[in-house]
């Protein structure tokens, strides 16, 4: 477990790339005080934890057969990226819709509680090299407990990076941060769509 904790710790900065980039702007966009941020953050971290446990179980169950297949990995993560990225952009656009906007569906889909959950899923399915490593590790390890422990360690290590985020709510000038945050969420959506597409065509962005 210690090795995966250290792995999480060292790759946590990359994790911040996949979701900090989304989550930080999101927090600024919605900043309704430290309390709201803490609750969003816990939702987010909880989702990650749950997804990791699911992953651990899956990894243990499927073993080498599916997750080591690069094609499967690229397709699934590509599709997921695009799916969630579109949701993100919807969300950021949705926030600025005037009440008379015809795209009503956007605002109905846009359940604010769900956003941190989406992000948690996107992030934990990020398939960063570190995660793949643990996946393979769990897949080759005997017991399910070992698999869980490996993911727990990774979760703890990488989550440390998100703990200072509640302070983001202390900013003055909420309106400005809200605007910038919303725009940045939209941009992150675009980045994820690109990432999704490149995963799909099997290319690689950012090494």
């Amino acid at each position: 477990m210690l090795d995966t904790f250290i792995l999480g710790l060292s790759s946590g900065s990359t994790c911040l790339l996949t979701c900090g980039m989304v989550f930080f702007p999101y927090l600024m966009a919605g900043s309704a005080g430290t309390r709201k941020i803490i609750s969003d953050l816990s939702f987010f971290l909880m989702t990650r934890l749950i997804v990791y446990f699911l992953l651990a179980t899956l990894a243990w169950y499927f073993g080498k057969t599916i997750f080591t297949s690069a094609i499967f990995r690229n397709y699934i993560s590509g599709i997921l990226y695009i799916l969630f990225a579109v949701m993100l952009i919807w969300y950021s656009v949705g926030r600025n819709r005037k009440p008379d906007c015809p795209a009503k569906i956007v605002t109905t889909v846009n359940n604010k509680k769900l956003v941190p959950v989406f992000l948690g899923v996107v992030n934990s399915l990020g398939f960063c090299p570190a995660l793949l490593l643990i996946l393979t590790k769990s897949a080759t390890q005997g017991t399910i407990t070992q698999s869980y422990l490996a993911f727990l360690g990774f979760f703890a290590g990488s989550s440390l990076y998100f703990l200072p985020l509640p302070l983001a709510g202390r900013f003055r000038k909420k309106k400005v941060f809200e605007t910038v945050g919303t725009l940045a969420t939209g941009l992150a959506g675009i980045i994820f769509i690109i990432k999704g597409f490149t995963n799909l065509i099997g290319g690689i962005i950012n090494g």
């Binding site: 900065s13 990359t14 911040l16 790339l17 900090g20 980039m21 930080f24 702007p25 600025n96 400005v176 605007t179 910038v180 945050g181 725009l183 940045a184 939209g186 941009l187 992150a188 980045i191 290319g203 950012n206 090494g207």
Partner: protein, 383 residues
């Protein structure tokens, strides 16, 4: 509105304008010629003289006519064109192509440009190193001297850098002046916050990947300076992005809107410069007593720096680049160059004189090298 409000014109008499232009004349002579012009190269000497005289005539006219933006724009646009020309010529001479090869990246020989600065800060703090494949000292456009120039310019001018210093801004400034009337009039000023979002993204991605992501994926000015050789899918995609952003944000939208859309909606350094507007002593002020809320200034501002609310509150926003367009447009002289601490409506001439001296001196000396190179090349064609 009280029509008798004291609104001194910024115009000066011929003699007085000459007197004001004299210090600039002498100082630019020393800075541009290095104090001792070399007459052995006729084309070079002529180019230096032409640049030096042209600039000083523009400065004189700023005092004589009381208008700023028109004359500033000339030097700003010529600077942008000249710099791109110089860079491309350099590339063609040294590499026989407009693009960098991978070797230039591997050997860290890429000229540095100020747009990289927002991406350098986090990595410099965490890794104590610079994430740009350029040279620290020596060579063409090295990191140290560009950093010093930008640092001092933003400290002194704030976002004034974006109208008196940046050698890219002249591109969209130029295209935004091509049509007399805008075709697209309504653009929400909401989008003016976009550069901050870009700044945030670019700073985070650059820090985490330790590569200048804006340069490698977004920068529209790659299209007119230099870009990575197209060797595969990725570099082709990049070239596509550079060219479409350049066409869209620097050419087409500025022509249609009469606004500097690239600077207003994309450039992350512009966002950073806006923040530095808080430090600089120079600003643009609105004298609420003199203003009749005609909002002409709002219409002409190329950077969405003014909204009707800003005018009503008597405050210019942080996006202002001190270009002077609004100042020139206001028939009541209610909006004017000012110095922080001095109340709006007072000491207008004094503030303008100091600001013009400082900002003009910067752009005159900073741009002179590139402009001289271009004029010299033109002379060489004919002589």
């Amino acid at each position: 509105m009280d029509e008798t409000v004291n609104n001194p014109s910024m115009k000066k008499s011929f003699g007085k304008s000459l007197l004001y232009a004299l210090p600039m004349f002498l100082i630019t002579f020393v800075f541009i010629t290095g104090g001792k012009p070399d007459f052995s190269d006729p084309a070079g000497t002529l180019a230096i003289l032409a640049t030096f005289l042209g600039m000083n005539i523009l400065y004189f006219l700023m005092h004589y006519t009381g208008k700023t933006d028109k004359f500033r724009a000339i030097i700003f646009i010529v600077f942008a064109l000249s710099l791109s020309f110089t860079l491309i010529r350099n590339m063609l001479e040294i590499r026989h192509s407009m693009s960098f090869s991978q070797a230039d990246i591997v050997e860290c020989k890429i000229p540095f440009c100020h747009l990289v600065i927002p991406m350098m800060i986090l990595p410099a703090a965490f890794t104590k190193s610079i994430i740009f494949p350029g040279t620290i000292l020596g060579g063409f456009a090295n990191i140290s001297s560009m950093a010093v120039l930008w640092l001092v310019a933003t400290l002194v001018l704030g976002r004034g850098f974006c109208s008196w210093g940046c050698f890219y801004g002249g591109w969209d400034d130029g295209f935004s002046r091509l049509r007399k009337k805008p075709v697209i009039k309504k653009i929400s000023d909401y989008w003016r916050w976009m550069p901050f979002a870009v700044l945030l993204m670019v700073a985070i991605t650059a820090a985490l990947s330790l590569t200048p992501t804006y340069c490698s994926w977004i920068c529209p000015f790659k299209a007119v300076t230099e870009f990575e050789q197209v060797t595969g899918m990725e570099s082709a995609a990049k070239a596509g992005v550079f060219i479409s952003l350049f066409l869209g944000l620097v050419v087409i939208l500025p022509v249609l809107t009469r606004k500097r859309t690239q600077c207003s909606f994309l450039c992350p350094l512009g966002a950073m410069n806006s923040l530095s507007n808080k430090i600089t002593p120079f600003t643009v002020k609105i004298d609420k007593k003199a203003c009749n809320e005609c909002f002409k200034c709002v219409d002409v501002c190329p950077l969405f720096a003014l909204t009707p609310e800003d005018v009503k509150n008597g405050k210019v926003s942080i996006f202002c680049s001190k270009c002077g367009k609004c100042v020139d447009a206001c028939s009541r002289k209610a909006i004017h160059y000012g110095i922080k601490g001095i109340p709006a409506g007072s000491m207008k001439k004094f503030s303008r004189n100091i600001f013009l001296f400082v900002s003009f001196l910067f752009i005159a000396v900073f741009s002179s090298g590139a402009i001289i190179t271009v004029i010299k090349s033109i002379f060489n064609l004919f002589i």
